[in-house]
């Protein structure tokens, strides 16, 4: 070989941090569970991680402790009228038909429920992937040689169920606040809130599970987590100008270093690329 380039674990960590720093994504989704329509805006990015280079024949780049950080802003929209019973005071109305006058009823006021309300709750996303393994491969593109890394399949368990309490609290508070503005139902508010929560609670597991699955899907859209498209770790132009054209004098031809072949392996915990120059 005519040229050798070796990158240590610290150097590879530097390169990997550049890739991790670029790994961010935002996506939105929604679904309906019973009377609840839920929208969710996911923003996630990666941070941290340390690189371990595992020698050939494994030739693996292992990244330990990559943090997945971000938020999912959830928006629960529901119509109280679809959840709460109709409440009238008094509950029953007595009507009588009076000749020559018509039907006459006792007074009754039915509570008009407010229009559909939306409760927003922002949930944190914070988990650590303890180990990610990437294989290395060399690609010959038309103008470049690329030493890329390709992720081996891994499992990721995102569990938002601990956030159920925050959702319940937020919805409870909001419903309580809304109902408090309605006259004549003061004694009923606690029970009405419970009705809403009773409608929500059986659905919350499915809702959070769906959001977790969505986050998982979104994460897999990150280039770094692609299982089919390698991510460039080192890129080499096949033709590298060593002496520029027209310098030092006009008309000077460019003198290039042309990389005719390139190989990469991990040896002694270093990523070693060797090149043949044409």
């Amino acid at each position: 070989m005519d040229a050798t380039l070796a990158v240590s674990e610290s150097g590879a960590n530097h390169l990997m941090q550049d890739l991790i720093g670029l790994a961010s994504i935002a996506r939105s989704g929604s679904g309906t569970w019973g009377p609840f329509s839920v929208g969710y805006d996911v923003n996630i990015h990666l941070a941290g991680g340390t690189v371990e280079l595992i020698d050939a024949p494994s030739n693996r780049v292992r990244v330990h402790n990559v943090n997945v950080l971000g938020t999912v802003a959830t928006h629960f929209t529901f119509d109280l009228g679809a959840i709460l019973p109709t409440i009238c005071i008094p509950p029953f109305q007595i009507c009588v038909d009076i000749p020559f006058i018509g039907t006459v009823c006792t007074p009754q006021i039915c509570i008009p429920w407010p229009p559909p309300l939306t409760v927003s709750v922002t949930l944190p996303i914070a988990l650590t992937i303890t180990s990610l393994d990437f294989g290395i491969l060399v690609q010959s593109n038309p103008t470049t040689w690329v030493v890329g890394i390709l992720l081996f399949p891994f499992s990721l368990a995102i569990d938002l169920s601990p956030e159920a309490g925050a959702i319940i609290s937020a919805i409870s508070a909001e419903v309580h606040s809304i109902l408090s503005g309605i006259p004549l139902i003061g004694d009923l508010i606690a029970g009405l809130v419970d009705i809403v929560l009773n409608a929500l609670t059986p659905l919350l597991g499915a809702i959070l599970s769906a959001i977790s699955g969505f986050i998982n899907t979104v994460l897999m859209l990150l280039d770094l987590f692609s299982l089919t498209v390698p991510v460039p770790l080192l890129t080499f132009n096949k033709i590298q100008p060593a002496l520029p054209a027209n310098f030092p004098q006009p008309g000077d031809l460019e003198v290039d270093i042309t990389l005719a072949a390139l190989n990469a392996n991990i040896l002694d915990h270093e990523l070693v690329a060797t090149a043949d120059i044409a």
């Binding site: 050798t4 380039l5 070693v272």
Partner: protein, 240 residues
Amino acid sequence: MALTNGHDVFAALHETGVNKFIHNVFLARRYYFHFAVPPLGSGVPGTDFAVLPPLPVPGTNYGLAYSLDISQPVIDFTPQDATSTLPPPLTLGPNQFSLSADVQICLLCGFHIPIRDPNPNDPRGKEPGKGRHPQGDDREQQPERVCTHLQLWAVGHPTVANLGATDKLIGLEIDDIVVKEVCALEKIMECITEDAVNALLEKVRLTLSRIALGAFPVGLILEDGPKIADDQLEAWAKIV
């Protein structure tokens, strides 16, 4: 054994790679290797050969056309190749390279090129701007191209020059040279050729980022080297 030795990056150019690069320079920048006073010189002046001023002939107001052609130098990084013909007293030590090349020097004898008289007040009175035969007659002399071949060998060390915070210019410089077949002129020829070869080597320096094959576009901070060992020019750097 790890190559990076505690640094982010190790970059090395093997002597085969350097010689291929010099070959490319030799083909693309002919005027780095060929020098001549027209009408000597082959091809386009300034492109195929660097134009030299005539060689003044003492006692005349003319100069002679001459040319100097350096063959493609061959670089050998320590340890010395088995095929090396490095002559004594040169030896290839640690962190050194050797260079060998052939040099052809030609003179167009009898072809007089008028030159400006550097002594215009000389009472012997030469006419400025005209060629004059030393014997004072105007007979036509048929110019004759006479040439001699020399072999030179040199040893030297790697150099580094600043090129900003995130790159360096890495090159080679010779320290000692031997020119054979020149007898009593040896010291004079060695003086001239050492300067000429170092001027050539200065033109073919490479940046640290290029030695690292351009893989770090943001830049590299040189932390150790350049050093020559194991038939390679080596450098260690930190990724910016």
